[in-house]
């Protein structure tokens, strides 16, 4: 029954976590493969790394980056705006309003973005002259669609409307994620629908909406490359302009990729910081129940209902 004195105390013994042999072998293999691939890419003259270095910070490329960022920001902002309106319309009591929202999402999610962009660009072919007039009455003003739909405008139009359809779904998911009890509590307090939305539902939905919105922004940044077909001088089109003259196609595409990676990495970092900030302020995610220090504050000075005359509810019989 006695324990040997030579046995060390359990807490003084070191503990070794389990390591699988497979993970060690796999790790070594992956490292070897990665080094091999990197070497073959770096040594391959066809990648033209000297050309990459030459054009990495060329003024045309830098201007292209600026246009890409502009498009991303402008189209995301408009897209989120459209998404909020569509999501609100989707919750409307009026059937026609819901139908309009559903039709919008159905169309813009259901057709390729590239085709949408080309469509907007060629709007003048569909409607050779755009005019606003009173039905059966005089024409108020008319505009030449060729002047109105510049490549940049077509790009913003296409990207924003498409984004709006996706953001509508993201926001709808966020609104549905806020419990029915929250709405009922706010209703019982006499809040009107708009107040209820702004004060109670939207702030809570935001936490659900933010992570997928980060993903959408990353997607938007890359999708802006599609508008190169409209000859908008964003990053990809700028690279294309250069290689159409010097035929250094691959090195310039590498330049574009490097910059896209830099921008998406930065965006991911921002997304991480924003999400962490929201997680921090999200008290609702912590467990329901007493936190010890809040309980210790409770004792003493103030009369507690628990200390008061208690009802004989439990002993009633």
């Amino acid at each position: 029954m006695s324990i040997s004195l030579a046995t060390p105390k359990p807490e003084s013994l070191r503990r070794y976590p389990y390591r699988s042999k497979a993970s060690i072998i796999f790790g070594v293999l992956i490292t070897i493969c990665a080094i091999g691939m990197l070497q073959s890419v770096m040594r391959n003259p066809n990648f033209g790394w000297d050309v990459v270095a030459l054009y990495l910070t060329a003024p045309v490329i830098l201007k292209g980056i600026l246009v890409t960022l502009q498009l991303t920001v402008v189209c995301m902002v408009i897209g989120i705006g459209i998404g909020i309106v569509l999501a609100a319309m989707g919750q409307s009591n009026a059937m026609p309003v819901r139908a309009v929202a559903a039709a919008f999402v159905w169309f813009f999610r259901g057709t390729p973005l590239l085709i949408q962009l080309i469509f907007w660009f060629n709007l003048s072919a569909l409607f050779p002259d755009l005019s606003v007039s009173v039905p059966f009455g005089p024409e108020l003003f008319s505009i030449d669609p060729n002047a109105l739909i510049t490549p940049f405008f077509a790009a913003v139009l296409g990207l924003s409307l498409n984004e709006g359809a996706y953001m509508a779904e993201v926001i709808r998911g966020g609104l549905l994620g806020v419990g029915k009890g929250q709405t009922e509590a706010a209703q019982a307090l006499g809040m009107k629908p708009l107040k209820l939305m702004m004060v109670v539902v939207l702030p809570q939905a935001l936490r659900i909406i933010i992570p997928p919105t980060g993903n959408q922004t990353l997607g938007m940044l890359k999708n802006t490359s599609l508008v190169s077909v409209l000859a908008v001088s964003e990053l990809l089109h700028s690279a294309q302009i250069i290689y159409s003259r010097n035929y250094e196609t691959i090195p310039l595409l590498v330049v574009a990729c490097i910059w896209y990676l830099v921008m998406t990495t930065l965006l991911s970092g921002i997304q991480f910081l924003v999400e962490r900030k929201f997680k921090k302020s999200d008290r609702s995610s912590s467990r329901r129940g007493l936190i010890p220090e809040s309980e210790s504050v409770d004792t003493g000075l103030l009369p507690q209902p628990t200390d008061g005359p208690s009802l004989q509810t439990r002993t009633a019989s």
Binding site: A188, M191, V199, R283, V297, P303, S310, T313, R314, A316
Partner: protein, 259 residues
């Protein structure tokens, strides 16, 4: 027991029918509460007692019947061709006069306890912040949670959350408070702190309608007791008499199970 019960009803519900699809939850209920009265509703789960309570502030839409609170028809406007549903704005104005406490508390998780109490008077009644904060702190004191003003709901126990929820409802200075099984989601040791707050309110003359399983509370505090079963009122009257000597067999069976 409340001494200041008025003779005219503050709440008057007549011939209430509520149907969910083919299922009739309330089968023509008459129910009234006088000003200053504490009225308890008991019954097995599925008897329709919570639905009746939710009809009183139009969280449930009536299939037929009328609910009147303070000489105002709730949720609908009677015309010569029938009942017309009120706009969300008009409904909100009516609900502002009727406080409600939920089984699951439903505090706003993104606001502190203090802001939970202050938000509605500021957002709905546009009362000045200083006035509302003063009242909110007084209410916090009244429910014994003055030192928890800056806690978030997740940092509070169930009993504390429910007391905040009562303070939140009181901040709107309602004419009547509806309680939907306020202690059913609580651990047993936290039930009394909530019931004590409710008893204090009753003694101060608050008009209260309480759906509950706490027969002891009903006997000690309520002025009237209503027993519901299968969408109908089986028996109602003085709580002490009813509990001591139930007239109806179904009441007897129910009481024998919960006591």
């Amino acid at each position: 027991m409340n001494q200041t019960v008025a003779s005219t009803p503050l709440i008057n519900a007549t011939k209430i029918v509520k149907r969910f699809g083919d299922h009739v939850v309330l089968k023509g209920i008459d129910f009234s509460v006088r000003s200053g009265e504490v009225s308890c509703i008991v019954g097995a789960s599925g008897s329709g007692k919570s639905t009746l309570l939710r009809c009183l502030n139009a969280l449930e839409k009536l299939t037929s019947g009328e609910v009147w609170i303070d000489d105002e028809m709730i949720g609908w406007r009677a015309t010569k061709n029938g009942y017309v549903e009120l706009s969300p704005g008009a409904l909100a104005r009516q609900r502002a006069k009727v406080g409600m406490v939920f089984q699951e508390f439903n505090l706003f998780p993104h606001m502190t306890a203090l802001m939970n109490i202050m938000k509605a008077p500021m957002a709905v009644k546009n009362e000045p912040r200083a006035v509302v904060e003063e009242r909110a702190r007084r209410l916090l004191d009244r429910v014994g949670l003055s030192d928890h003003a800056n806690h978030y709901p997740a940092q509070l126990s169930g009993g504390q959350q429910q007391r905040i929820a009562i303070a939140r409802a009181l901040a709107m200075e309602p004419k009547v408070l509806l309680f939907d099984e306020p202690t059913s989601a609580l651990d047993p040791e936290l039930v009394n702190e909530v019931l004590t707050v409710m008893q204090d309110l009753a003694q101060e003359g608050m008009t209260m309608v309480v759906v509950t399983h706490e027969i002891g509370f009903a006997r000690e505090v309520a002025d009237s007791l209503t027993f519901m079963d299968k969408g109908q009122v089986v028996e109602s009257g003085n709580p002490r008499e009813m509990i001591a000597d139930p007239q109806h067999r179904r009441t007897k069976d129910f009481l024998s199970m919960v006591l």
